[in-house]
Amino acid sequence: MAGNDAVVVNELCHSYGDRQALKNVSFTAAARETFGLLGPNGGGKTTTFRILSTSLRASGGTATIFGDDVASRPDAVRRSIGVVFQSPSLDKKLTVLENLIHQGHLYGLSGRELQQRAAELLDRVGMQDRAKEKVESLSGGLKRRVELAKGLLHRPRLLLLDEPSTGLDPGARIDMWEYLARLQESDGVTVLVTTHLMEEAAKCHHLGILDEGSLVAAGSPEELCREVGGDVLIVESESADSLAPKIRERFGGEPKVLDGQVRFEREEGHRFVPELIEAFPGEIEAVYFGKPTLEDVFIRRTGHRFWTEEAAS
């Protein structure tokens, strides 16, 4: 139903020169929900974000926001979106309030109305007593709060956030998500957020998981985890490569070797652990057992870990 869809992305493609950053990505985000785009760096999240925020023209496919096409009706889209970029967009030499007043002008707000709206938002992000301070004197967490206030100033129907917790310590990160949830509740905005953090993705109502430019999974975090089926078992062994086929031969399933560990899924995993250890005496050093996480969903869909080359750099 089109009336209830905030964002509809259809067969979206984009190339930077020879490199294909997005390959036929399609997803839909419903109005008033928090939709997360999860993926490792280079997965295509930021490219999608830039297309949706009208900063970049897609090479193919379409994207509409509340029915307006981002390519053919950018000004209509721009009026309905609030954008929080990954890198700071505040003027450091101006005060917090001056930054918000400037932002309001870009959306045709002025005078008393703008002053009131700016004060209201500063109050909501808990920054009213810092209004006269220059942005350069604020901590990273406080700057993010101002960015959030800036994005919401003109009462957008959709708030787009690109990796909003970049550069924040864990405390400030939790803080930011709390503000986000509170603002969403009071304003009823739809939120579309990109992230590479599993714990952030788990807070979204629905998720799209991107890897190497393709959408590899979509659904609510619970649905996605359920799909993995049963429990996840990770077996640490010096001979992981030879152990995996032996486990398959004996117990079935699809054991995979990743980083010197054998991973597989199993119903009632806790009962299976002693059986497994007894079956391969001396070959198993440790067995980890857990409920499936979004990382397990990612591994299942892509065959590789979330952090590959990234971890080394």
């Binding site: 954008v83 030499k93 400037h102 932002q103 870009l106």
Partner: protein
């Protein structure tokens, strides 16, 4: 006010506020041209004998409108560099996703830069009478008014060309190259530093093709408030027409660049 007008106003105001908060910028744009004026003015004064200039025209006087042009150019360059900084520091991201015409963004930046250029140019022009005993020439009070209007026109054109050049440059270092290879030679070949009379024909052609020639010419007419400035330069109408046309052309080109990115 419409969002477009508010955007232009807001960006213009930001330029002025930022300038007032970083006053050391004044030094570079104002002091260097003044030092040049004195050093070249007195240094080259003895050997300055242009073929058609009237008796008694000192090099200090000849070079006076050129110095104003240099001050305007330097200030316009500083504001162009700020475009690169605005982009690299992320400030422009949110401006570019706002539902406003791209021209209103260009106008805000360009008028901001032009305002600062006008302030700098006027400070220098108003200081000049203090040095009259030393330099031997006077400026009529009305000339300041004429000069201010001319400076603003030239400043808008230079800020706008600075904008278009800076938009395609991703580092301040890269812009320094553009400055020394394109912008500074434009000034050198504008009749600011030496008259066209007597130079080789190919240089005369370059000077005729250089839009800044007409800006400096307009400043000469404004300074003397007369169509007779004592030497052969393009006519008053041509000087003002080309200067205005150049500013208009640059202002219409710049928004196209923003749409492409």
């Amino acid at each position: 006010m419409s969002a477009a007008a508010l955007t232009t106003y807001s960006l213009w105001r930001r330029e002025v506020i930022r300038f007032l908060r970083q006053r050391n910028r004044v030094m570079g744009a104002l002091l260097q041209p003044i030092i040049f004026w004195f050093l070249f003015g007195f240094g080259l004064g003895a050997s300055f004998r242009p073929s058609e200039a009237p008796e008694g025209l000192s090099y200090l006087e000849y070079y006076f409108p050129g110095t104003i042009a240099l001050i305007v150019l330097f200030t316009a360059i500083f504001s162009s560099i700020s475009i690169i900084e605005d982009r690299n520091e992320g400030f422009l991201q949110s401006v570019l996703v706002a539902p406003v015409p791209r021209l209103s963004i260009v106008l805000g930046k360009v008028l901001g830069g032009a305002t600062l250029a006008l302030i700098h140019g006027l400070v220098f022009a108003l200081l000049a009478p203090l040095f009259a005993p030393l330099t031997g020439f006077q400026i009529h009070p009305l000339s300041f008014l004429y000069l201010a209007g001319t400076m603003l026109m030239v400043a808008v054109g230079l800020s706008a060309i600075g904008f278009t050049l800076a938009w395609r440059t991703d580092s301040v270092g890269g812009f320094h190259a553009i400055m020394s290879v394109i912008l500074f030679p434009m000034w050198l070949l504008s009749g600011a530093f030496f008259p066209a009379a007597g130079v080789p024909t190919f240089l005369q052609w370059l000077m005729l093709l250089n839009p800044m020639t007409y800006g400096v010419g307009a400043m000469r007419y404004a300074m003397y408030r007369s169509t007779d400035v004592g030497m052969e330069i393009p006519s008053l109408g041509v000087c003002f027409g080309v200067t205005l046309g150049f500013a208009g052309l640059m202002l219409s080109l710049a928004p196209r660049l923003l749409k492409k990115s």
